[in-house]
């Protein structure tokens, strides 16, 4: 499987996801500078975390208008898996690949900590190695991770089983306390209609090495390795 990671000025978690994919697939992902007009052929396109364009104007808003995003959208429409993590999630919602928007955390502060996520569906290339209902522990690191969409959109996401992850307690309960950033319906990650585009705020890539505080994110990358082999 060949992954391509797109870099914008201000991307900063590209190495983390690079290493996680490399470990899971045995193949080093390509790093593609956003101004390179030719997006190479890839089985997976990743928009990594960071502060593209400094998060100035609005998180993800400027990167979403980079020319390369037109190509990313075309590939997504054609079925190529596109993964947006953290700032990448913000960018692909701004680019219209996913519905909704990421608002400032309800605490108005940056959060960097381990959280518990409930895997809501195993029906995707990202989650097939997990069981629906499984609880995993992975870190978050964001200031603007408060997912918001209107009621109809949220109902539709739920109706179509497109909520991939929710913030929960260690025991898997959906309690307000576990939803630090205040996301609507505790949503941490969502899929598009075709289930090939995933955006999520947490960082499974930072939970793939036992020395670095956990391995619950390994299933995420193992899913991709298996699905896109």
């Amino acid at each position: 499987m060949q992954a391509a990671i797109i870099l914008f000025p201000g991307s900063n978690r590209e190495q983390d996801v690079h290493d996680a994919l490399h470990r899971a697939t045995g193949k080093a992902p390509l790093k593609v500078w956003h101004r390179d007009t030719n997006l190479p052929k890839a089985d997976l396109i990743v928009i990594p975390g960071g502060f593209s364009y400094g998060d100035y104007l609005r998180c993800g808003a400027m990167a979403a208008h980079s020319p390369i995003m037109r190509e990313v959208k075309a590939r997504a429409d054609a079925g190529t898996p596109v993964l947006g993590i953290c700032n990448g999630f913000q960018i692909i919602t701004e680019a219209g690949l996913l519905p909704g928007v990421l608002l400032t955390n309800r605490t108005l502060r940056f959060h960097c900590k381990d959280v518990h996520l409930r895997v809501e569906t195993s029906q995707s290339v990202y989650t097939r190695r997990y069981n629906a209902g499984q609880v995993i522990r992975v870190p978050v690191a964001h200031h603007d991770g408060n997912y918001f969409a209107d009621k109809d959109t949220l109902d539709r996401l739920e109706g179509e089983s497109r909520v991939a992850f929710r913030y929960c307690s260690e025991a898997g309960e959906l309690v307000d306390q576990a939803n630090d950033n205040g996301s609507a319906r505790a949503i941490a990650g969502i899929l598009n209609e075709g289930r090939n585009v995933l955006g999520l705020m947490p960082h499974p890539e930072d939970a793939t090495d036992p020395l670095l505080g956990g391995t619950d994110g390994q299933g995420f990358f193992a899913s991709l390795a298996e699905a896109l082999a």
Partner: protein, 733 residues
């Protein structure tokens, strides 16, 4: 002297005084020039000779510190210190203060403190891999404290998170002496190839001088001078001297510089920090024994009609000065174009030995570089030793029930969990954080291998105030101990000397004696100083801070998987205290927090014992005999044990010896001590005896409470609640 320069109006003594120069220093400048300097030239003298840039009060003392060793590649004097960490790798690091700006404008002050120290490190060719910070705030009761914490934490996070360098550790405490003068010390650690280090000495007359990065504005003019004067009531009016940070540009600058450093284009490189274009150009020319010519109209500017004086003294952030090989100029320009950063040829290296500045073809300054650096004033300021304080006998100190005392201590501001702070810092980005904030030292694994660095910052200002020499030695020793406690071999330190007004003999005495203590500890522990920063005049309206020589240490771990953390690991493991517990209560937190007394002599620092105990503990960790380890410091043994329990949720049953007052045993702050856990104590105790290291069993891990033999107990959950409640509740008020 150029006739054009002479046409600029000569400066006056009054102006010199406003710039912080004394009459004697002004006379010296006139003598060096052979005439009265003009306004721009005077500005340059004043910042180059400011305390901040010239170290004029501290240099004679700093020279006493050991700065060499087998591991030292580059000691103090460059942008940062460089040490050899084996396999062709080098660690580059430094700590620097941004105290005054952070008090005036906490967000920007702290943010640009982080930006500045990052630049010092990547300027030398290193990719920054970790940030730390040492923070001191005023009393929590002071009306400004909450606002300052909020701004400083947001500023450090705002900058560090955006540039994508993890903030992995630090310290934070409180004392009324910082009410009007907080301390914000930021440390960056970077990684480079040992044969690819970049220095700042100019070379090659005719080579182009290149300006890269952000544009120059009017922010931060005379920041270095502000950092060299006492504060007064009107410091709010100094807000315009605080710089504004742009971490996004910094991130681009890091990537662009590191990309350029892959080539052979760079002859010399220097960031524009304090005193901006002035100090960078003068230092580069001075170190190379050459001259430099700058056309100031070529400097990228973001404001109109800036004067030569303003351009030279601006402290706008995210700027670098480079000297390139002429044939590589276009290659470099392309890289900076890619990263959408300004790239301007603003001058050339000369062999004249002079700094010549022109503006639209007119010479606006012409001064000799050498004397500006070498003839900077140096002061051997008078000093008086701090009076020795009496030793306090443990038996004379009121005994409190240990569990009740523990509950009070772990909830006090200095010992309360700082989770609220470090959860606002991205401490995980880059994917190499093995030990996160909250332990003795952070551990970051180096890319592509097993090797890791252990990092910590330390200082106990109340000890330094009571006995500066002991306090200076203790700061170094505790830092060394913290790195040892995670299994690292401590290699070298950076120091950030925060003191009051050096013109007062008692403050100069604190400085001199702290250095003396640090020197002894550095030598005894084989722990040289490779970089540092001095921040004097930390006073407001004549009242100084506690002397605070903050130490930032770097240690090496051969195999990250062998480092240990502080949390108890398994029920039934034996808890051993290494080092002698005499029950020293002078200057202890027990005395201060429970009895309201800040008095007595601080604990003695026996450097031989420190070395012996630490070497023993490290060897045991490396041999795999230790499952958890924690140094014993603020609050004493029972606090250390409580921290170990809180870190994992596993409790312990503990017993104190019969021959010591329990409050002294549990809360004394004797140095050179560690708590370890192991499966079976026999082998460890035998090895300790053989190594002449005091060690005794104090209990056994297990259960969900800390239980004292024949005494009270407290659940770990309750301990955790008390420990974690204070700071969030305080900040929510």
């Amino acid at each position: 002297m150029s006739p054009d320069t002479g046409a600029e109006a000569a400066a006056t003594l009054d102006q010199a005084r406003q710039f912080g120069l004394s009459e004697e220093e002004f006379t010296r400048a006139c003598r060096i020039m052979g005439r009265t300097p003009n306004f721009t030239e005077l500005g340059i003298f004043s910042v180059m000779w400011s305390e901040h840039c010239s170290y004029k009060s501290s240099k004679v003392w700093l020279k006493q510190l050991p700065t060499t060793g087998a591991r030292v590649i580059c000691g103090p004097g460059e942008n940062a210190g460089v040490i050899d960490i084996g396999d062709g790798d080098a660690a580059i690091f430094k700590m620097e203060s941004h105290n005054h700006p952070s008090f005036i404008e906490p967000y920007q002050g702290a943010a640009t403190g982080v930006g500045g120290i990052l630049r010092d490190v990547f300027t030398m060719g290193a990719r920054p891999i970790a940030n730390l910070n040492a923070l001191r705030f005023g009393s929590p009761d002071h009306p400004k404290t909450r606002h300052l914490i909020d701004g400083v934490v947001r500023g450090i996070g705002g900058y560090g998170n955006c540039v994508g360098v993890p903030t992995v550790g630090g310290e934070c405490n409180f004392h009324a002496s910082y009410n009007g003068n907080i301390l914000v010390n930021a440390m960056t650690v970077g990684l480079a190839r040992a044969d690819r280090i970049f220095y700042s000495a100019a070379a090659g007359p005719g080579n182009p001088v290149i300006y890269v990065g952000a544009k120059t504005g009017r922010d931060g003019i005379h920041g270095a001078t502000m950092a060299s004067a006492e504060f007064s009531e009107d410091n709010e009016s100094k807000r315009p001297t605080v710089q504004v940070g742009d971490p996004f540009t910094e991130k681009l600058l890091i990537e662009a510089c590191l990309e350029l450093m892959e080539s052979d284009a760079i002859v010399a490189i220097q960031d524009m920090g304090a005193a901006g274009l002035t100090s960078s150009s003068v230092e580069m020319a001075g170190k190379g024994g050459l001259g430099i010519e700058l056309a100031l109209d070529q400097v990228p500017m973001r404001e109109e009609k800036m004067s030569p004086y303003e351009i030279m003294l601006s402290e706008s952030q995210e700027r670098m000065l480079m000297i390139l090989k002429p044939e590589r100029q276009e290659l470099a320009r392309k890289i900076f174009d890619k990263w959408e950063l300004d790239f301007a040829v603003i001058g050339r290296v000369t062999d004249s030995g002079r700094l010549v500045l022109t503006m639209n073809g007119r010479t606006v300054a012409d001064m000799p570089v050498g004397p500006l650096v070498t003839e900077a004033p140096l002061y051997e300021r008078p000093w008086t030793p701090a009076p020795a304080l009496p030793e306090i006998a443990a038996k004379s100190v009121e005994a409190r029930e240990p569990i009740a005392a523990l509950k009070a201590l772990i909830a006090c501001p200095d010992l309360a969990s700082k989770r609220w702070i470090w959860e606002q810092y991205d401490h995980l980005v880059m994917g190499h954080t093995v030990q996160r904030p909250g332990g003795d030292a952070a551990v970051v694994r180096l890319p592509g291998g097993k090797k890791a660095l252990a990092l910590a910052t330390d200082c106990t200002p109340r000890y330094c105030a009571a006995d500066p020499k002991r306090g200076g030695a203790q700061a170094v020793a505790e830092n060394w101990r913290n790195l040892t406690a995670v299994g690292a071999l401590p290699l070298a330190i950076t120091d950030n000397m925060n003191f009051g007004n050096p013109e007062r003999p008692e403050i100069m005495g604190q400085f001199a004696q702290s250095i003396d203590g640090m020197r002894e500890a550095c030598i005894a522990l084989d722990y040289p100083v490779v970089s540092g920063n001095v921040s004097l005049y930390n006073e407001t309206n004549g009242s100084g801070i506690l002397p605070t020589p903050a130490i930032g240490g770097v240690g090496l771990i051969d195999d990250a998987a062998k480092s240990v953390s502080l949390g108890f690991k398994r029920d039934g493991e034996i808890i051993v205290v290494v080092g002698q517990t005499k029950g020293w209560l002078g200057q202890s937190l027990y005395l201060r927090e429970l009895l309201g007394r800040e008095d007595g002599a601080p604990p003695p620092v026996d450097l031989k014992a420190e070395r012996r105990n630490g070497d023993f503990v490290r060897a045991q960790i490396r041999a795999g005999a230790v499952s958890a380890c924690h140094d014993v410091s603020d609050g004493g043994l029972l606090v250390a044990l409580a921290e170990m329990a809180m870190a994992s949720g596993i409790g312990a049953t503990l017993s104190a010896p019969q021959d010591q007052p329990p409050h002294a045993f549990w809360f004394g702050e004797d140095q050179a001590r560690y708590v370890l856990t192991c499966r079976s104590a026999d082998a460890l105790l035998q090895a300790a005896q053989k190594a002449d290291v005091p060690a005794r069993v104090v209990g056994k891990a297990g259960g969900a409470a800390l239980t004292l033999a024949g005494g009270n107990a407290i659940s770990v959950a309750e301990l955790k609640r008390l420990n974690e409640a204070w700071l969030p509740a305080y900040m929510a008020q």
